[in-house]
Structure formats: C-alpha cells, structure tokens
C-alpha cells in the first residue's frame, strides 16, 4: 500500500476526515448530504476506496438510514461511520441510543451548524448538550471529541475509532462548520489495513459474522424486557463510562502556567480564544486557554486544579452557553465563571472574546 503518510497536504477539514477514515482501515461509510459537511462523502466518492482498501461507501436515503447502516455494520464488528450536520444528527439520535444500548462501536461526525430547526448553514457549537448529555433516550454517554484544526479532524477520526472499539460505544467527532470548511496543512495518518474476519472474531467475539459451527449464536440487541436485566446492562455501561472518565480525558493548555484568567473553549472558539490570549498578553493581562479535546469525558480534574490558582474562567462558545455549565460544575463556585457566546452561525472575533474577558472578569 502507498506510503505517503509524511506528505504535507493542504485540504479542508471535511476532506481530512475522509482521508483519515480510509487510512485507519474504516470498513464502511454511510451518509446523507447536508451542508457544511458534504465534502466528507464527496471526497470518499472521489477517492473510490472500494478499489484500494475495499471500504464500502454508500449514500443512504436519509440520516435515519445512515445511522442504522452504521449499526448493522458495527454489529458485524466492522469499523463504520457516518457524518452529518446538526439537523441530520438530530435524526440520528434514535440510532445512536440503540448503538449505545447494544454496545456497538461506531463513529458519528457532526459538523455543526446553527439551529434550532433548519437554522443556518453557518458554523455553530450549539449541539454540545445533545452530544455530551445523551441526545437520545435512556442513560448513556458518548465519547465526544472536538477537533480544532484540520490536522485534528484527521487525527481525532482515528482516535474516535480506537475509543469506539475500546469501549464498545458510539463515539462522536463534534466539529463546527469552520473546522469542516477551512483548509490548513495536514499530515495524514499512516495506513492501517482493515481487519480480516479472523481478526474481527478475535477482537470482537460478539460480532455477527455468521455463527461458527458448534458455537452459540451472537445477538446484537438493546432490548431486555426484565427490568433487572436492563438495570444490569445499564450498570455495565455506567461502569465503562467511569473508566472512560478516568482514562481518556484529553485537553490542551496554552499559557495556563501563570494565568490569572482562563478561557475555556473548544473547536473554532478555542482558536479565536488563542488569539484573544495573545491580545491579552500584549496588554499585560495574564490570560490562558484551556481547550478540552474530549468534551465527554470533560476535563473536570484539570479545571478543579486550575480553579485553585486562577481568578476566573470565561467559556467562549458558539451557543447560548452550554459547555459553561460543565465548567461551573467543575469549578463548583470557587471562582467566577463567565460566558461569552454568539449564536445562529455568528463567530465571535478574537477582539470580542478579549473584550468579554475584560468586561466580565476583570472590570
């Protein structure tokens, strides 16, 4: 197989997802077009991975069908994914909940746009709650990764599959329209070959590949009519989430060592806040940035630790204030936690973020 993994390329975030999926040995992509993420499937259709790695790419009739195709593929122990944007991801909530209940791995990409409703095609981060608080029915959590660059669109696609299989859970890549649409330099991940059926049988003994002779059949289901059995399934899931919360927290700190004030932001907001930190520092204000890479599990311990030595936090989001609730829970009243956000597809500028810091926390 071609080894050009070290080549630096320039591409859109959405395109990087497609390349990374092929390279990490994804078996199947099932999707339905919606702006601003259509380039994911368009790129896959251009690249024709069925001719190289054998990956299946299929345009489904709806987002509902897409996520259920991911369910079917995942039930066979295959690496499967879909991508969509906010309204489409709302339609997928049923399937995501079923996957969580059936303990199936799979990757869902949400390149968010402004809502509610049909909303706008401009970037947004207003699906934070939907992603990290369980947008579908029942008690479940979904590992949620928030890329802030085109490079991370590629890298976190690979990580999302790893987490999905390690914890047998649907996993979300939660990006925003800008990260999907912008072009930056990217070094694509190295090629991994797709798992063979023998490898899947070892790695995923629960997969429905056809029942081997003399063995018990596998059932993929989220149904347990007896409440005690259902509670046990829930307990198993919750135990897994506790491990995830311990083992898989990821974040980036910028200039936090001596910071008096810390921006908390993810995705494009984090990039904006990084510039706001530069502006603040140039004016003698010791600002820093904490950028959660995993939104679930949230970097609670890190924020707790920072809250012992900073004067305040400000969460900057493309929403009416969602992640800020988790920041407040982690800070638990020790220092002020403020919020600045723009909605409906408006992206705050670095100056706006800096001014919000000054107005809300310093003055």
């Amino acid at each position: 197989m071609k080894k050009d993994s070290e080549e630096i390329m320039l591409m859109k975030g959405n395109e990087a997802i497609a390349h990374a999926a092929i390279r990490c040995g994804c078996d199947g992509y099932f999707g339905y077009p919606i702006t601003p993420q259509s380039e994911v499937m368009e790129t896959l259709m251009e690249l024709e991975p069925w001719n190289t790695t054998g990956m299946v790419v299929l345009q489904a009739e709806s987002e509902v069908a897409s996520i259920n195709m991911v369910y079917g593929a995942a039930g066979c122990g295959k690496k499967a994914m879909t991508s969509s944007s906010s309204p489409g991801v709302s339609l997928m909530q049923e399937g995501i909940s079923y996957m969580a209940g059936a303990e199936l791995p799979g990757v869902i990409v949400n390149v968010m746009r402004g809502g509610p409703g049909l909303g706008t095609i401009q970037p947004s981060q207003a699906d934070y709650f939907q992603a990290v608080k369980g947008g579908g029915h029942g008690d479940y959590k979904m590992p949620t990764l928030a890329p802030a660059s085109v490079q991370e669109m590629a890298d976190l696609t690979v990580l999302a599959f790893d987490l999905a299989f390690k914890y047998r859970t649907p996993t979300m890549l939660l990006a925003d329209g800008i990260i999907g649409q912008m072009m930056e330099k990217v070094v694509l991940p190295p090629y991994q070959s797709r798992l063979t059926e023998d490898e899947i049988r070892v790695k995923c003994p629960w997969a429905t590949l056809g029942k081997p002779h003399g063995k018990k059949p596998n059932y993929i289901t989220s149904l347990e009519l007896l409440s005690e059995d259902m509670e046990n399934l829930n307990k198993r899931l919750q135990a897994r989430y506790r491990i995830l919360e311990k083992e898989e927290v990821r974040f980036e700190e910028i200039a936090c060592e001596d910071a008096d004030y810390v921006f908390v932001a993810f995705g494009i907001s984090a990039r904006v806040c990084q510039k706001a930190v530069e502006i603040a520092r140039s004016e003698g204000i010791k600002a820093g940035l904490l950028r959660p890479i995993t939104l679930y599990p949230f970097p609670v311990e890190k924020i707790k630790e920072l809250s012992n030595r900073v004067k305040g936090f400000i969460s900057v989001e493309l929403s009416a204030g969602q992640m800020v609730e988790d920041v407040r829970l982690a800070v638990n009243g020790k220092v002020p936690v403020e919020f600045y956000g723009r909605m409906g597809g408006v992206v705050p500028s670095p100056n706006e973020a800096f001014n919000a810091l000054k107005d809300k926390l310093i003055q």
């Binding site: 199947g28 069908a65 066979c76 499967a80 056809g210 149904l223």
Partner: protein, 259 residues
C-alpha cells in the same frame, strides 16, 4: 401395530428442524409467526447455511425472533431492518442476510428504508408478515388494515376518507428494477405451508445470485388482535384478507428469464 412400534427413529417423517431451538416462543397460541420461524429454520437447515446466515429482527411481535433461530442476529430499531441488512450484506457479501418484519415495521415506519433498500437492489431477503394490524401494542390500525376492519384505533372500522386505503407494499416494490422476486404466501393450510416453504427457499437462493432483493410476504393472522380463535382467524383471513392481498407470485424476474 402398536404406537410404540411406530414411534421409532427409523420411521421418522417429520421433526422440528435443528436451527429452530427448543426455547418456547412467546407468541400467542396459533400465531403464524411460529410457522414462518419454523420454515426459515427448515430452509437454513436444508441449504446448510446456518453459519452463513445473519437475521435482522424488527420491532413488533417478532422482536424476539433472535431468540428462536440458532443463527447470528441483529435486532433493529423500528422499521430500520433494511438499513441494517444493507450494511451487513455490503460488508459481508457472501453471507445470507434476511430481515423479518411485520406490516407496521415494513409498511409504516420503515417504508422509506424498505423502498430504498429495494430500489438499490440489495441482495437480501425480506420476510414480511402482514396481518393487517399492530399485534404487539394491542391491535391498533396498521397501513395494511382492511377497509371497514375494526382495530382499537379504528373502532368503527377503517375509513378511506380518514385513513386511506390498505397499503400493498409488495405490489409497489415489484415495480422497482432492484427487486427480482416478490411473492405473497400464507401458512393457514398444509398446502399453503408447503408453498410458502418453497417460496422462502427460492428467495434465499436468489439472494445468493446477486440479482436484487427478494420479498416474501406472508399474509398472516393475528387471532388475539382480531379477537377470534386461531382457526376462526384463518377462516376470516381466507374470506377477507385474500381478496385484498391475493396469494401468488407477483414478480419473478429470474424465472421469467428462464422461460
């Protein structure tokens, strides 16, 4: 000749197939599901494809189908079985993949998934149990409920003006080029059971030819929902359902080519 002389393995002419396991099924007494499950087991045993077959169970009375046939199964969300089956078959193209769906699952909530899987000509088998009613939730109106037929949500009978006409999905799907075989069967008599077994076998064989989707509708009873005895339900089906849903092949592209 004494019974004990006759009941001897050497004289065996009919026994339960080995694919159907020994778990008692949760269906009501006399329910057609049991017969169709048995036929599926017969075919899987006869074709010797137990290790290559993956079933997709619906939501509805047959939600637990996965408990009864000793093969790998996935249980789908309501109506989504054809989407799951699409992905399974695409990723495991040498396997036999079938969905088992009721009329609520296939013809109402899952009509889009059904139509598009068939339009893409997915090489899967769709087993479609049509009893004109929502059985599991207690006898509500289905898309296939007959005009004038009473249900808990059409207590005075289905009215065209309010509820539309009974939806004949197989007839609709037969018009798609992606579909190679559509047949309508029943399991109320010995003859019907035998015909239905042949139809299901054909559907499985066709699915291995990669010529498109095969659909076997089984016009069935729901004696509990219809509030009849099992035998009474069969008679009611013959008298009322068959005129709306006449039995027989609706489409058989491969057979037509042979002629």
């Amino acid at each position: 000749m004494k019974v004990t002389d006759i009941v001897n393995p050497a004289n065996l002419v009919y026994k339960k197939n080995s694919v159907l396991n020994d778990l008692p099924m949760h269906y009501c007494p006399g329910c057609s599901h049991g017969v169709v499950h048995k036929l599926l087991g017969d075919i899987i045993e006869e074709l010797d494809i137990q290790e290559q077959t993956i079933g997709v169970a619906p939501v509805g009375c047959a939600v637990f189908a996965y408990k009864y046939l000793d093969i790998d199964w996935q249980q789908a969300a309501h109506g989504r079985a054809p989407a799951l089956a699409t992905a399974i078959k695409r990723l495991l193209p040498d396997r036999y993949v079938f969905t088992y769906q009721g009329d609520g699952d296939l013809a109402a909530i899952g009509s889009a998934e059904t139509l598009h899987a068939c339009n893409r000509g997915e090489n899967i088998v769709i087993i479609y149990i049509n009893n004109g009613i929502y059985g599991m939730t207690g006898g509500q109106m289905a898309p296939t409920t007959l005009l004038g037929m009473k249900s808990t949500t059409s207590p005075k009978g289905r009215m065209y003006e309010r509820d539309g006409n009974p939806l004949d999905m197989p007839k609709l799907l037969a018009g798609l080029d992606g579909v190679c075989y559509v047949t309508r069967q029943a399991v109320h008599t010995v003859g019907a059971v035998k015909k239905c077994r042949r139809a299901i076998k054909k559907a499985f064989e066709y699915s291995a030819l990669n010529r498109g989707t095969s659909i076997v509708e089984v016009v069935s009873t729901c004696n509990s929902g219809w509030k009849l005895t099992p035998d009474g339900a069969n008679k009611w089906m013959v008298e009322n359902m068959f005129s709306q849903y006449p039995l027989g092949d609706i489409k058989d592209t491969i057979q037509t080519e042979k002629k």
